[in-house]
């Protein structure tokens, strides 16, 4: 397999009862790419996303991260293997502070157990300091360090979105999967999100993006895949997709 592919999705299908949400979907994401998944409502984007992040397991097909087959693993195993995600309807730990939220993201990269917690031996103290330091860095990376002690539920909407990204980055992902990160954002928020995503990519993290904001998608992604009724109908660069008649009919035509 080509060493440049980070994620290789092949022939994924998923049914719910008699309804087939995904039919034989395949695509691949190269290292360092920003890759988008678009399609009208009900096209199967979120289902695909949930398969890749371990919430659903696919009925058939497989997908490999870095050459390792991941299909059907638990969500926590996905995070450990290097796929981190955000949620469409923000799911922060609302009664924890911003800092604590990001610290939770370090869970799978740290080890201290009950013994370390109770006895606070040198290595667990060091680890705890590293967790906090890394979390603070990430808060400032996404630009909300001034709110580190605020409860997540009291942050503004845009800051909650940023916090979710910081929390996901705390798992040291190879692939950052963002479920409609611009949903509900105003114009200037979207602009700064675009800058943030560019920066994350520059720092070596590959990004998978589901997005409704076509302008943002076309402006930022390297390649994209268009789904309709659970089938892949097009794939390519924004220019290629934009001129694809099937896409115009299915998606751009009615938006």
């Amino acid at each position: 397999m080509p060493a440049t592919d980070l994620l290789l999705v092949s022939g994924i299908s998923k049914h719910f009862g008699g309804l087939s949400a995904l039919t034989d979907v395949s695509f691949s994401i190269g290292r360092g790419e920003i890759y988008a998944l678009i399609g009208p409502n009900g096209a199967g984007k979120t289902t695909l996303f949930n398969v890749i992040t371990g919430i659903y397991s696919p009925d058939s097909g497989s997908f490999c991260l870095n050459g390792q087959n991941m299909a059907g693993r638990k969500a926590s195993a996905m995070a450990k293997a290097g796929i981190a995600r955000t949620f469409q309807n923000i799911r922060l730990f609302s009664n924890m502070t911003a800092l604590e939220n990001v610290m939770v993201g370090r869970h799978s990269r740290t080890r201290a157990g009950v013994f370390g917690a109770i006895f606070r031996n040198a290595s667990s103290i060091r680890e705890e300091q590293q967790i906090a330091a890394r979390a603070r860095d990430l808060l400032s990376y996404v630009g909300i360090s001034r709110h580190e002690h605020m409860l997540a539920r009291n942050l503004s909407y845009g800051d909650q979105r940023r916090l979710e990204i910081a929390r996901a980055l705390a798992t040291d992902p190879m692939l950052l999967a963002l479920d409609e990160p611009a949903a509900g954002m105003n114009h200037s928020d979207t602009d700064s999100l675009r800058i943030l995503l560019e920066r994350i990519r520059m720092d070596g993290v590959t990004i998978l993006l589901i997005e409704h904001d076509v302008k943002l998608v076309m402006g930022i992604c390297d390649r994209l895949c268009v789904l309709n009724f659970g089938h892949k109908i097009a794939e390519g660069t924004p220019e290629e997709v934009r001129s694809n008649p099937a896409v115009i009919e299915a998606y751009l035509g009615n938006s």
Binding site: N50, I55, Q88, R91
Partner: protein, 307 residues
Amino acid sequence: MEIFLQQLVNGIVLGSIYALVALGYTLVYGILGLINFAHGDIVMIGAMVTLAVVHFLSGTGLPGPALVGIGVLVAAIVCMALGYLVERIAYRPLRDAPRLAPLITAIGVSILLQNLAMMIWGREYLSFPPLFQSGSFTFSGVSISPIQILILFASGAMMGALSWMVKRTRLGNAMRATAQHPEVATLLGVDSNLIISITFVIGSALAAVAGTMVGAYYGIAHYDMGFMLGLKAFTAAVLGGIGNIEGAMLGGILLGVIESMGAGYLGALTGGVFGSNYQDVFAFFVLILVLVFRPSGLLGEQVGERP
């Protein structure tokens, strides 16, 4: 075989009482997501009030069934008022509070009602006078008493009426709407506070009837009879899928049957190691087994882990 059929009949009778009480839990749970811990004690109050009325009128020479009829009517009115008050005072102010806060007030109400009953009616077991014709009908070796028949018919009728009301009437629609989407229901002009009050009142009326049935069936009433009964009924509601009306009925009857089968066969099945004193273990064990394989109960919605 005869033992089996006999235990089946006994189980269904017991189960239909559980089902009536379970409906009270499930109605409230469906609409508020609250375990109304005090519901079992409302059942107890129902039994106590009926008993008090029967004693009061026993000198009048009215026939037994008429006494019970008047008694259950008074008990229903008292319990409905009580249910309304409990919701108003102990649950409504906590509707937006942390989830466990109303559970604790419910426990408080339960302790309050039990001790109130103990102060009014004393700590002794009170006996129900024999109000129904004794003796029983026997069909091919299986005997069934008049009161068992009455319980079956009365609970069947009430469950039927409730199902019809929830499915077919405007009030039922409003109840279902409030349970599913409280905000939307409010937008559509449903007065959710009123609907919640009505739900409590209906549940309490069923409780009064169930309390009378238990009292008359076993012939005794006691201030803490509601606790175990409530627990069993809640178990039944969960078994069937809490929040689901048919689930409560199914769960109630199933639990009744499981218990009486347990009482009848547990000793024989285990070579006498576990006797009928393990029947509660058996009931809980079945519950746990069901929930391990169907985490939302038998008829509960199997909601997948949707993000």
